[in-house]
């Protein structure tokens, strides 16, 4: 690489590192990655920034080290089609090399006029790399909403029926429920969304959860299942392992009595009521018959990690 190439690549490394640090520092990273990756983003960003700055201020790599250098001093970065274009007699001095580092004889060992198959770094130049990486980044930064649209969430399972679970699960009893799930001040179980959702796929757990007073916390979305009258909404949580690419969204339908205040789509709420199950087109789906819905404080990250 030439010094200019190294500086330009260093500049790009600074931009990438700066991007990671920006996402971390602005906390926007919480909308994209599981919380367990956040510090890794910061560390990666700092590392890239250091590498970039180092390359900006110290662009001379293996080339241009003359005098007492033990290294080979010509540049291997910009050759095309495997040909050496320089003259080995004129370009650099071999007088100071010691044998360990530069042991061959340029006259005898190999012919630089022909093919030589050592490292020629035939990667793309800095301008094309900068263009091809910054263009999608700028576009993505411009158009992202830091969340999925309703159509995007539907692709992640917002309106999907739960998978059938199996009898291989460890036995689950009402006593387990009482022991493991906390209650709110009204005596309602503060059930995890994923538990309410997957209960519809397991007859045994359905039997325990049917008619159970529960409180579910999550974000509100429009309901598209069994909602001809338009009275229903859906409450959902996002389940994640690494990043939003592996997002899975689980939701429960909400049915409101007439006198109950209805939340707005996008609100983060605690919804209390009676959990039940309904059959829609032969699929068993969870349904929460609402007692009340109250606004709740949004968590730092609304992603819930898979366990």
């Amino acid at each position: 690489m030439t010094s200019l190439d190294t500086r330009l690549f260093g500049f790009l490394a600074c931009l990438w590192g700066g991007l990671l640090i920006y996402f971390y520092h602005s906390t926007r990273i919480r909308d994209y990655l599981d919380i367990g990756f956040h510090h890794f983003i910061m560390i990666g960003g700092i590392g890239m920034l250091i590498l970039g700055i180092y390359s900006l201020i110290n662009p001379k790599s293996k080339s241009n080290r003359t005098g007492n250098s033990k290294s080979c001093c010509h540049d291997h970065g910009d050759h095309d089609d495997k040909q050496h274009s320089h003259d080995h007699n004129d370009c650099h001095d071999h007088g100071d090399h010691d044998d360990e580092q530069h042991s061959h004889d340029h006259n005898d060992c190999h012919d630089h006029g022909d093919h030589c198959d050592h490292d020629h770094e035939e990667g793309h130049g800095p301008f094309i790399t900068i263009f091809l990486t910054l263009t999608p980044l700028i576009l993505a930064m411009t158009y992202t909403q830091d969340k999925l649209s309703n159509g995007g969430m539907a692709k992640k399972g917002l309106y999907e029926k739960p998978a059938l679970t199996s009898a291989n699960l460890p036995p689950f009893t009402r006593q387990d429920l009482e022991k493991n799930v906390p209650k709110n001040e009204h005596g309602e179980f503060q059930l995890r969304m994923i538990s309410a959702y997957y209960a519809a796929g397991d007859l045994e757990i359905q039997g325990i959860f049917e008619g159970l007073p529960v409180e579910l916390e999550g974000r509100i979305a429009p309901e598209k299942i069994n909602n001809a009258s338009g009275d229903r909404l859906r409450i959902f949580r996002s389940i994640i392992t690494c990043c939003a690419a592996d997002l899975q969204i689980v939701g429960v339908s909400l049915e409101f009595p007439e006198e109950t205040n209805r939340p707005q789509v996008e609100d983060w709420v605690k919804a209390s009521g009676t959990l039940t199950f309904e059959t829609v087109d032969a699929d068993v789906l969870p349904l929460l018959q609402i007692r009340e819905v109250i606004p709740a404080e949004e968590p730092y990250s609304e992603f819930r990690r898979r366990q």
Partner: protein
Amino acid sequence: MTQERQDQLADGSYEFLAIFLEGLPFIFLGTLVSGFLGTYLPRGAFEKILPKNNTLAVLISGLLGAVFPVCECAVVPVIRRLVKNGLPVSCALAYMLAAPIFNPVTAISTYKAFNNSPEIAISRLAMGYMIAVFIALIVARKAHSFFLKTSVKTENSDEHQHPRNLNAALNNSLRDLMDVGLYFCIGVVLTAILKTTVIDPTDDFWKELANNSIVGSIGMMFLAFVLSLCSTSDAFIAANFHNFKYGPKLAFMVFGPMMDAKLIFLYSTVFKWKFILFLFIAIFILTGALSILFETKILPGWMSQQTEIPLAP
């Protein structure tokens, strides 16, 4: 622009940033390792470490993910440098293909995703290992010119040496970061476009594929290619395709970490495109065949009924 298009643009941007932000630090880590290995690892070091018998060397290389676990993004720059430094390509390929699957993190996540079922986790690891080693052994019989890019070919020990200092290591790292980062970015763009405009895993089309294991396996491999998930998280997605049997789910979990839309561009930093096509076809056929074999011949003996994602209130 219609609302649907605007949503697709926003969702595509979101998907792109999610994968890019998650993958970039791992790429950086991989290139940092590759830069230092390329600088400080002596030529011919692998000749001393690896068994002389090539088959045995490949078999051992396929197991290295258990000791040096690495994701599919970070492994590419590392093996790129290792090949330059003399690691036999067959060994590098065995490690590259097997490591994202044959490692403890993936094993645990698969075990958890499939309801603490060791059978599925073992099947996945065994399939990944067998396919990686089989392809690597085929490759061992081919000349390097068939698959390696010119820039990645091994440097001969009688050629002149490059300096071994921090400056050279960081320059190598920077060069690798730029090369691999570029192709990673292109691959993520393609993934984001496909995920937001072409593929809808909840569509009835995918659900109907589940009725036939052969078609289902093909469909699930295609889906894995497009979704480009990490090997540590894809088991949770696979477990939720409740219509599909185990064969297609295994195909999804084995094919994806070896070959997906972003990986083909990362592979292009090491291999020629015609070899990547060969790799795609070979992994596709072997994964499909083995997943069907597992489902029809092996798993029935292991499991009496299908299990799904765990439930814990």
